[in-house]
């Protein structure tokens, strides 16, 4: 009659996804919290840059043959003076922290004059250190590993929870306002669920990508390119794992939320899913130095998005391990979507009391 074009599954799901995105972008709370998250990421990267570059040069006076020696040492501000006495004077009145003067006795040909304490940096700079062979050259600075653990854990946890909760609320809103019956009579339930998962997943990916880009930009602007290079592969894998891990969590949120009919009940019915999201966050912070726990985490589908990038960052994963873990994650995502869609379509029309899980799975 009016030029129906009979949208298929994908077109219907996309219409639903588009609405989800449009409504979310209209929410002030979402925009403000995203802004705060971005600022926090940028702030911590910049702060890290300021602390790491804060090594002020040392004021040193030098005279005679010692001048050329001093010029070979890094991070010194050299004041050239005419005599040893002039150098002593500068040390005494505090204009310089130490002075390098020629000495016939010393094997290096220079000696250090200082007021009341040994200037360690200068001593180290002048000594010839023994050769050091690191047996595990890839091992990470434990502090850096800890921060990486927190970063992966918190970003996964925050995004999964923010957008998971959004899906849950959107599912219950449709049930509570009863519009779901009109939707169900128009498009397939699977298209409806797929659209919700797709829309919120896209928003979550966009947020994650923006955070990753912001962090990378911040690191390179503040001259921490080395850090960026060591984070690069793990961040890339994190994004890949997050994409599939989030779809799984989104399906779980949609399915569990469909069991209830009121917004007040969303929190209690989705709390088991929230536990699943929180667990990897807690585990990675507590056990980021425990290879056994990390290995297990990197294969369990719910914690793989945090565990595997962490192991890649630590250089503890062989090349095939992320691929195997990804296959496990993909398979479990497919299974969860199938079960979730079943619960969702069975529970959607049953308003009122909470639907029992066994009943939702039955037909």
């Amino acid at each position: 009659m009016n030029g129906y074009n009979n949208p298929g599954f994908a077109a219907s799901a996309w219409l639903v996804a588009e609405r989800e995105i449009r409504m979310k972008l209209r929410s002030k709370a979402f925009l403000i919290s995203t802004g705060i998250l971005m600022l926090a990421v940028l702030g911590s990267v910049l702060a890290g840059g300021i602390f790491s570059s804060a090594s002020p040069k040392m004021n040193v006076a030098a005279t005679g043959a010692a001048i050329s020696v001093a010029q070979q040492l890094p991070d010194l501000k050299i004041t050239k003076v005419d005599s040893v006495d002039a150098a002593k004077k500068l040390v005494n009145d505090g204009t310089v922290e130490a002075a390098l003067v020629p000495s016939d006795d010393a094997p290096t040909g220079v000696e250090i004059l200082a007021l009341d304490s040994v200037p360690q940096e200068l001593v180290v700079a002048l000594s010839s250190p023994p050769t050091v062979h690191l047996l595990d050259p890839n091992a990470m600075n434990p502090l850096l590993a800890y921060f990486a653990a927190i970063a992966f854990g918190i970003v996964f946890f925050m995004s999964a929870m923010t957008f998971g909760t959004t899906i849950a609320q959107s599912v219950v809103e449709e049930k509570q306002t009863r519009i779901v019956e009109i939707l169900m009579s128009t498009i397939s339930v699977r298209a409806l669920m797929a659209g919700k998962v797709l829309g919120n997943s896209l928003l979550a990916f966009a947020q994650i990508a923006a955070i990753a880009a912001l962090a990378a930009l911040g690191l390179s602007v503040t001259g921490q390119g080395e850090l960026l290079a060591s984070f690069g592969p793990s961040i890339a894998w994190f994004v890949v794992f997050f994409v599939f891990g989030f779809v799984m969590i989104a399906a779980l949120y949609a399915a569990t939320a469909s069991l209830v009919s009121r917004q007040e009940d969303v929190g209690s019915v989705t709390s088991p899913v929230m536990m699943l999201v929180m667990l990897p966050y807690i585990l990675v912070i507590a056990f980021n130095d425990n290879p056994v726990v990390l290995s297990i985490m990197s294969y369990v589908p719910f914690s793989a998005p945090v565990g595997m990038p962490m192991r890649i960052f630590l250089g503890a994963a062989a090349w095939w391990e992320p691929l195997l873990s990804l296959v496990i994650l993909l398979a479990s995502t497919a299974i969860v979507i199938a079960i979730g869609a079943r619960i969702y379509s069975n529970a959607l029309l049953r308003t009122g009391a909470r639907v029992k899980l066994s009943e939702a799975l039955a037909r």
Partner: protein, 293 residues
């Protein structure tokens, strides 16, 4: 033509529909009446594919209904609802797009329909900010926006103010006149009586009667006559082949075959002046009572 054939459905051990069969013809308004819990909503949900039937089929013009056909249905569920935070026009356009309309057609239909329903000034208001009556109008717009080829409306008049009832009746009649089969349920038997061409009566999941209003009237209304004479009408009790329903002074209602009724009229004229004699049209409420007994 929409056909429902031998549809059965149970919820757990409770059988809510038993071999439900009926047809809804194009261009006719079909009223679907029954007590609460008789199975009206379940039947409509099965027609729309929102619920599945345990057995039986729903066919449109002879072929089984698929999801693509159902997109061309206009459905108004008993439990109303729209997205509270979306604007009226935005929401109706969204639903039109889900039904498969192109963006331009969705926009055009929405604006025309909002104007027809007197909602054009509210197009950019969020649904939650509308009065209840206007929310109902928006709901009707949602069911009609895609120019459906079949309309299935569950209690379309409940909660409407009298003016809105008039508007909606007008819109539905227009659609039926354009050849669209319209199936609607209602508790308000007076509206059904005024509006419907065909009637389906359901009780305890059984279709007790279906057909045109006139046929049901003839079948279940019996043949009742009303007689008003100036004297007492007690003598009618003695007339041959007549069953008296009530006598109140000179007024009486009795049921009889046409010949016997004419004989009563002649007898009455012999006795004195007759103020009134007429066949009594049974109201829908009477038919309904008769049918579900």
């Amino acid at each position: 033509m929409l056909e429902v054939e031998q549809v059965n459905r149970s919820f757990g051990a409770k059988r809510v529909l038993r071999d439900v069969s009926f047809t809804v013809d194009g261009g006719r308004m079909t009223g679907f009446v029954g007590a609460n819990g008789a199975g009206k909503t379940t039947t409509m949900r099965i027609i729309l594919g929102v619920l599945s039937a345990d057995s039986g089929r729903v066919a449109l013009n002879g072929s089984d209904l698929g999801d693509a056909d159902r997109r061309r249905f206009g459905y108004m569920p008993e439990e109303r609802g729209l997205y509270p935070k979306m604007k009226v026009a935005e929401q109706i356009i969204y639903l039109a797009r889900l039904h498969g309309l192109a963006p331009a057609a969705a926009q055009k239909n929405t604006m025309q329909l909002l104007e027809r329903l007197g909602l054009e000034e509210r197009a950019d208001t969020a649904v939650e900010a509308l009065s209840l009556g206007n929310q109902q109008r928006a709901q009707i717009a949602a069911a009609l926006v895609h120019d459906p080829e079949i309309l299935v409306l569950d209690e379309p008049f409940s909660g409407l103010d009298p003016i809105a009832v008039e508007t909606v009746q007008g819109v539905l009649k227009e659609r039926a006149a354009a050849g669209v089969p319209v199936l609607f349920s209602s508790h308000q038997l007076d509206i059904v009586e005024r509006l419907c061409d065909d009637l389906i009566v359901i009780a305890d999941g059984d279709i007790r009667a279906s057909g045109s209003r006139e046929r049901l009237r003839a079948e279940f209304g019996g043949s009742r006559y009303e007689l008003h004479v100036s004297g007492s009408a007690e003598w009618v009790r003695g007339a041959a082949a007549v069953e008296v329903v009530s006598i109140d002074g000179g007024r009486t209602v009795f049921s009889a075959a046409p010949d016997a009724a004419q004989a009563v009229l002649r007898a009455a004229l012999d006795r004195g002046p007759v103020v009134r004699f007429a066949p009594q049209e049974p109201s829908l409420a009477q038919i309904f009572r008769e049918v579900i007994q």
